[in-house]
């Protein structure tokens, strides 16, 4: 049973509970456990590449032979790494570890969520609960926004490299390089927002639309209980911590 088969709300609950617990529970033990669980999640099957992040035509480098689980794991670590460096510059070792583990938990949870949560299932789940299609879509889009932007950034980076942009060199050089990558990303994304808003309307996404759920993800009593249990655990931890 892969994580992707769980109800989207369960995935959301898990991705929210782990960072919450990381911050509530005393450091560093609390952080160690939650970070370990979060990183372990990134290794589970069911974590996959989101739409847009596919090899070939969208240009994401996907080296043959590496399993999707490792990609997610690596992404989580690589995203969290700069924070550790930053923290170490500002704080002593114990504080660095304490905060670093909490941040790692947050990053890993979010990266895992973005890789596991199928946006169409989230839309179906929220629509089945009575949300309007535009609200559901917006909610799901915020979660897929980062992987989509990252994918676009990679395509732009490729195009600029093919024009001679080198990611190496002096700091000044790298800052200039950043501009050549960040600007087209922002400009084309903004430009596309206008186009997308119009384009999505053409697909029937108008305000007030009542969408037919095509395949609402099944929700079991076990999962519902698990979600409540996660909430209860967070509340209990809060009470215990501040007793």
């Amino acid at each position: 049973m892969t994580a992707g088969r769980l109800h989207p709300f369960t995935l959301l609950a898990l991705a929210a509970a782990l960072p919450a617990l990381a911050w509530i529970l005393p450091a560093p033990a609390g952080g160690v456990w939650t970070a370990a669980v979060a990183l372990l999640l990134t290794l589970t099957p069911g974590a996959r590449l989101t739409p847009g992040a596919s090899p070939g035509f969208r240009g994401v480098g996907f080296s043959p032979g590496s399993r999707p689980g490792l990609v997610v794991f690596r992404t989580a670590l690589l995203t969290a790494a700069p924070f550790w460096v930053f923290l170490r510059l500002l704080h002593d070792v114990p504080t660095t570890i304490a905060i670093g583990l909490r941040i790692t938990t947050m990053v890993a949870s979010f990266v895992w969520l973005a890789a596991t949560l199928a946006p169409d299932r989230l839309v179906e789940a929220t629509v089945a609960r009575g949300w309007s299609v535009t609200a559901a879509y917006l909610f799901a889009a915020t979660i897929t926004a980062v992987p989509t932007l990252r994918d676009r950034a990679r395509r732009i980076a490729e195009a600029q490299r093919c024009r001679g942009l080198s990611p190496r060199g002096s700091l000044a050089h790298r800052l200039r390089a950043l501009r050549a990558l960040a600007l087209p990303l922002v400009l084309s994304a903004l430009h596309e927002v206008d186009e997308r808003a119009l384009a999505l309307e053409t697909r029937g996404m108008v305000s007030g639309a009542r969408r037919t759920p095509l395949a609402p993800p099944p929700d079991s009593a076990v999962e519902r209980a698990a979600r409540w249990a996660l909430l209860a655990a967070c509340v209990a931890a809060l009470i215990w911590r501040f007793k």
Binding site: A197, E201, R211, T212
Partner: protein
Amino acid sequence: MKSLTLERVSFWYPATEAPALRDVSLAVAHGEIVALVGAVGAGASTALLVAGDLAPRLTGGRLAGTVARRDRSAIVLPTPWTQLSGMAFTVWDEVAFGPANLGWPTHEIARQVDRAVEQLELGPLAARNPATLSGGELQRVIIAATLAMDAGLLLLDEPSAELDAEGARTVWRLIRALAKEGKAILLATSALDALPDVADRVVWLEDGAVRAAGTPDLLGEVAACDAGLGTSVATLWGASGLPGPYPLTVDHAVRLWR
């Protein structure tokens, strides 16, 4: 009564002095295929947005004149990848996205989607992730997705732009079949060579205004060829100094030659 009527329509994009459309009048009847031709920037895409009630409602700007629509419309944009939902992991789900948003019952959705998938010959791709498709495959998926919404008025902006020869043939054949079913079709295209066999009428837009309108024979006239809007055969015929009006297609030219 026609499916779509534009009467003396002028349109200005926001913060632009020059109108994108000037006093344009055209109509599309049920079962009719009308093609808009013109240079880049002549206003064909804008005309489609106005026809589809997307301009000025979503684009902003100002509209003068009247637009009368009898049916629901659906549009295929010249940038089909922007029309991807981003929410579907299979082509089938992608095509079903629109109908689902329209709130139809599931059996009706399945019927429309299966039909559209078959019409665009997407069977082998039905389980593929839309993100892994090539530009041409994607364009066919978006066309299918638009057809599945079962609109009476179809607005197509460069439907064959990204397609290879086979894909283009499928789409043109399909457009003729849809017109036979009674749909009204307004399309903008630079694939002039396909029009003699596809379009019932051609409207030539220049700088936002209608320069000429008539049957596809328009594309064989001297004026059109001089403006770069003749078919390849017609343009060639004219360039060789033979008298006009010029033949539109190879078959036509062969008959004229004999």
